[in-house]
């Protein structure tokens, strides 16, 4: 069942702020085996000109993906989430995410396609800080694989 094209361009309300904590950044950095002190030591981060520890580049996905859940679980869209795989991911950084940021995400559906029975959804998430400054834009492509023929 093809997804409804009228969803293209739809923007969802901004999420409640996510407060980025130093210890959450440390936990993420350790989980991916990072040892760069800019993730854990504020003094090391300051040497590179950052006001506090920064997050690894892909950290922000946890926040944008949660926000994309608004779209994915929109009952009107009707995506079969049990068949969804992550197809592509891209980020454009205005500045790194850092400890102390309070980030909100605004998700927009950029494209809805059906190819060979697979539903494909492109979602753009714009991440702003408390002052309204754009921090990161994240593009996520989700593919709901075609259900097998009975």
């Amino acid at each position: 069942m093809a997804l409804d094209q009228s969803f293209v361009g739809r923007t969802y309300p901004p999420t409640a702020p996510y407060e980025v904590g130093r210890e959450k950044i440390r936990e993420f950095a350790e989980a991916v085996g990072e040892t760069n002190p800019v993730y854990t030591d504020p003094e090391a981060a300051k040497e590179f000109g950052h006001p506090d520890v920064i997050a690894p580049p892909t950290f922000v996905f946890s926040i944008t993906f949660r926000a994309a859940g608004q779209v994915v679980q929109d009952p009107q869209l009707g995506l079969d989430y049990s068949r969804v795989v992550h197809g592509d991911q891209k980020f454009a950084y205005a500045r790194p995410v850092r400890a102390g940021d309070r980030l909100t995400v605004t998700s927009t559906i950029e494209a809805v396609k059906t190819l060979a029975g697979n539903d494909i959804l492109d979602i753009r998430g714009e991440v702003h800080d408390e002052s309204g400054e754009l921090v990161v834009t994240a593009w996520t492509k989700l593919v709901a694989r075609a259900a097998e023929e009975a």
Partner: protein, 142 residues
């Protein structure tokens, strides 16, 4: 934001130091907790097989996080990354043993761009197969 590498010192074709990143089931459990992605295909073998996978697979975002380390370890400052994207072409299968899997990543300067930035093209393989496609980063150099 300060990179250790100077823009004038690199050319198209400059190779970044390649790295290998081991991943075991314990790595995946830890990443699931840190990222909040608890999809059972990343830790539950029975579930993974039921949905048609050969075994438990690594999170695509875990592989993406490892691959960019080739760039950030090269530049020194991860804050110098301006853009980063990839396609998830093939899953990294992680067997339930002490060895797990190995993600091997290499990178090469593909283009010199404006404003002291370069585009690095990354190649990520596991078990001899390419696991990321179109994996590219734009990074600002000194």
């Amino acid at each position: 934001m300060t990179a250790k590498i100077a823009y004038d010192e690199v050319e198209v074709g400059t190779e970044l130091p390649a790295q290998s990143f081991p991943v075991t089931r314990a790595t995946l459990v830890r990443y699931a907790g840190a990222s909040g992605d608890f999809n059972p295909i990343h830790w539950n073998e029975k579930f993974a097989k039921e949905v048609g996978l050969p075994d438990v697979i690594a999170h695509g975002m875990f592989t993406m996080a490892e691959a960019i380390r080739v760039v950030t370890d090269w530049t020194g400052d991860p804050g110098a990354v301006v853009e980063y994207g990839c396609r998830f072409t093939r899953p990294v299968v992680v067997p339930n043993d002490d060895q797990g899997a190995l993600i091997e990543v290499s990178g090469k300067v593909a283009a010199k761009l404006d404003d002291h930035t370069v585009r690095v093209d990354l190649t990520a393989t596991s078990a001899g197969q390419k696991v990321l496609g179109m994996s590219r980063a734009v990074v600002r150099l000194a």
